[in-house]
């Protein structure tokens, strides 16, 4: 069992009852259980939390449970005007726990000029909605310039609601100073996503690593020390030429996330476990990778009831194997790393219910069809 919050990394049995974690011990008698999962040789971890998803109105369950994700956070596909519809169409229709950063602008997601977030009502309306709805965990800023006003607007909402913002740095030319952003505009606890992106136009935005010298920029290290959360948000915005030198310099991402969208699920990103496997391959320890995908994101979205396996917590779990072999992991520009370990999701449990079982390791097996009549499966 790997439970980073509780600093557990050892062989342990875990018992679930009524959708909650009931008991954790060295040896729990199997006679007491109605269903037993043989997880010998496998790892048990808290259900994964992916804090950057961009599926819009596509239902997430087909992309989450098969890779151990039990909670996703939609990163700005809805805003204070469209959130009610997003909740009805997606949050309430999904077996995955879906939370949301609402976009700090008015109107449906359109990108570009519509995302400037400079309307006067946006901070007050967004924060009001966020405080009255438990599914909202913060505010998303998809930055398009020209100055840091949209970020300030998000932070204003964040201060009112006591919630973080997640910033997608986007692009603008000329690009305002990131040092200013990290020291004057973002607060400790705010989230900077797409940490390892390359913007081809060198003047458009500072990158974490200087591509000539391969050295990490001090402003990023200082910002992380100050408490800014650096999130992966893989999508099409992940490059080894940023991630590998940064890791060599001792900089690890605070949270691992996918930026899951229909464009990236078949390409370089694929899914949460593929992204986690990349970080394992780059040299991050298994425990650190699990932490950055469970407890750290739970804290980042201030949902500390999630992301750990303490007795009494909701029973969201993943059982995974580390496959051994020769694997390749490629990124946005087509560059590839080869590794010898890969996460494989064996089982996902959400709220105490088995929602995915790759090889049938439960006894008795779930009758997914019979359950289907109860659970829409």
């Amino acid at each position: 069992m790997i439970d980073p919050k509780n600093n557990i990394d050892e062989v342990l049995d875990i018992a679930l009852n009524d959708g909650r974690i009931a008991l954790i011990a060295k040896n729990i008698n199997a006679d007491q259980a109605t269903q037993i999962v043989d997880a010998a040789g496998m790892y048990v971890a808290p259900g994964l939390i992916d804090i950057h998803s961009r599926l819009g109105y596509t239902l997430p369950d087909g992309y989450t449970f098969r890779v151990g994700v039990t909670t996703i956070v939609d990163a700005g596909d809805s805003d204070y005007e469209s959130f009610a519809n997003f909740k009805k169409q997606v949050i309430d229709k999904s077996a995955t726990r879906v939370l949301a950063f609402i976009n700090i602008k008015g109107g449906d997601y359109k990108g570009g000029a519509n995302e400037k977030g400079t309307g006067d009502k946006v901070a007050s309306e967004s924060s009001k909605l966020a405080m009255s709805n438990k599914d909202i965990v913060g505010f998303k800023v998809d930055f398009t310039g020209p100055d840091w006003t949209p970020v300030d607007r998000g932070v204003e909402a964040g201060n009112l609601a006591n919630m973080p913002i997640m910033l997608d740095g986007g692009r603008n030319h000329p690009y305002p100073s990131l040092k200013d952003l990290f020291t004057k505009h973002m607060r400790p606890g705010d989230i900077y996503t797409h940490t390892y992106t390359i913007i081809e136009d060198i003047n458009a935005r500072d990158m974490i690593v200087d591509q000539q010298s391969n050295l990490i920029k001090p402003s990023f290290l200082e910002a992380q020390k100050r408490g800014i959360i650096f999130d992966v948000g893989h999508g099409s915005a992940f490059r080894y030429s940023n991630a590998i030198p940064a890791m060599k310099a001792g900089f690890l991402p605070n949270t691992i996330s996918t930026d899951l969208s229909s464009g990236s699920t078949n390409a370089f990103m694929k899914d949460m476990m593929n992204v986690m496997s990349k970080f394992l391959t780059m040299g991050m320890s298994l425990k650190e990778v699990v932490k950055a995908s469970t407890w750290s994101p739970a804290k980042a979205i201030k949902r500390e009831e999630l992301g750990h396996l303490s007795p009494g917590a909701t029973a969201d779990l993943v059982v995974f194997s580390l496959r051994e072999g020769k694997f390749g992991f490629y990124e946005t520009a087509g560059f590839k790393m080869t590794g010898n370990k890969k996460f494989e999701c064996e089982m996902t449990i959400k709220g105490g219910r088995i929602v995915y079982d790759l090889n049938g390791i439960a006894t008795p097996l779930n009758n997914f069809f019979r359950e289907g009549n109860q659970f829409r499966w």
């Binding site: 098969r66 229709k93 390749g328 560059f335 929602v355 790759l358 049938g360 390791i361 779930n366 069809f369």
Partner: protein, 425 residues
């Protein structure tokens, strides 16, 4: 001595090179799959063959094609090259209309996230739309997807929507007219989930099938018990028509009283004699795994007695994507572990379904065919497989999709075998 050989080689090169210049340096092949075991059942190939792809089509299949002729070479040694899989039973009319289920509703899935990663390049939506709702399906899904999406049109005009039980909404003439007009997209008709006497939907669908010269696929499970399966297979359906969910558990196995399906294998484990006669007659036995349509307790005795399904399909929808079905490669792995050879499993998932939907330009890798290709590895280890009702088998082999190409474009690359190393910048 060495020097002499070297000069001889140089002289030979100077003489020979110009003759081969075009072949050697033209790089007329866009993508070359090199070193794999090609399984192309239509062309009866099961051999080590290289496959060249040019302008989205198969340009050459030969035992050794020089790498210098290709712009991109993908090393597929130790892997199996197959025609892209054709899944003739899916539900992909995904939509946001919460009043609906499979027709423009949340129970259907957007295809691209579920196809390429398991080697599927063509799907046939099985009756989610009817003639009244097909134009929306075409606009929202068929024209928006990278996967080739075809359709069995529901014999009910509305499709699998709110009105799927409406027996006054089955118009063979209108259905046939749409099938002829959209002949690039519509490959047949579907009887799905209908609760009335079979003569109404099945005979209407067959009438439409006769008018448009296309097959009919029947989901048997909704039909009440007074309709015998023998009559359906021997009298109502024509050779070439398709019975899907063929390894359904049968009567009483469904969770609701409305599901009356008669099973192919009887309580003593024997395949009913008329089932063989029906298959000999040309009725297509299709798997249509789904969330309720496949149990090992039917499939294992049936296969032992020689009842091999004609085609493997998934019945992909929201209710089975994470359950026992999962995806096409998982279902194929089940049949592999039940004793069907890899070559036959691939045949049941490529060339056979292409023939049944009368799309014989698909499902094979003949030179000139569109380059829809799947590359698999057969993993060995200890695997488990689950059916629709909590039954399980253990197995030692499992298909894993390494690469999927659709019309010559790489749409899935599991391990980046078509890509460079990160520091080759």
């Amino acid at each position: 001595m060495k020097l002499k050989k070297f000069f001889a080689a140089v002289i030979l090169l100077i003489i020979v090179l110009p003759c081969y210049y075009n072949d050697t340096f033209a790089q007329e092949i866009d993508i070359l799959l090199k070193g794999g075991q090609l399984i192309d059942p239509k062309n009866n190939i099961d051999a080590k063959m290289d496959v060249g792809i040019t302008n989205g089509k198969i340009s050459q299949v030969a035992s050794d094609i020089s790498a210098t002729r290709a712009k991109k070479v993908v090393d597929v040694r130790g892997m199996f090259i197959s025609p892209g899989l054709i899944d003739i039973h899916v539900h992909v009319f995904a939509g946001t209309n919460l009043k609906q289920q499979y027709m423009d509703g949340p129970n259907s899935l957007p295809p691209d996230g579920f196809t390429f990663r398991s080697g599927v390049t063509t799907v046939v939506d099985a009756g989610s739309s009817g003639w009244k709702t097909f134009p929306l399906f075409k606009k929202n899904i068929i024209d928006q997807s990278k996967t080739r999406v075809l359709a069995f049109l529901n014999i009910v005009g509305d499709g699998m929507g709110e009105h799927q039980q409406d027996r006054n909404d089955m118009d063979p003439k209108m259905a046939a007219m749409f099938a002829k007009y959209y002949k690039n997209d519509i490959v047949g008709f579907k009887v799905a989930h209908f609760g009335g006497p079979q003569s109404i939907p099945v005979d209407s669908a067959v009438a439409a099938g006769n008018l448009a010269n296309v097959p009919v696929m029947v989901d048997w499970r909704g039909l009440p018990p007074e309709n015998s399966l023998e009559d359906l297979l021997m009298k109502h359906l024509r050779p070439g028509d398709i019975l899907t969910h063929n390894f359904h558990a049968g009567k009483g196995a469904g969770a609701t009283a409305a599901m009356y399906k008669e099973a192919l294998v009887d309580a003593s484990g024997k395949v009913k004699p008329y089932v063989f006669r029906a298959q000999q007659r040309g009725i297509v036995m299709d798997v249509g795994h789904g969330g309720n349509g496949f149990v090992f307790s039917q499939a294992i005795p049936a296969i032992k007695q020689g009842l091999i399904p004609n085609s493997i399909s998934s019945d992909l929808h929201i209710g089975n994507m994470n359950a026992g079905m999962k995806d096409m490669s998982n279902i194929m792995s089940k049949f592999l572990n039940m004793g069907i050879s890899l070559k036959d499993v691939i045949k049941l998932s490529t060339w056979n379904p292409a023939v049944y939907i009368k799309r014989t330009e698909l499902g094979h890798l003949s030179v000139g065919a569109e380059a829809d290709i799947a590359v698999f590895k057969v993993r060995t280890g200890n695997f488990g497989f689950i059916d629709s009702h909590g039954g399980t088998i253990k197995g030692t082999q499992k298909l894993e999709t390494e690469l999927t190409l659709r019309a010559g474009k790489i749409e899935w690359d599991l391990n980046g075998i078509s890509n460079m190393g990160w520091n080759n910048n």
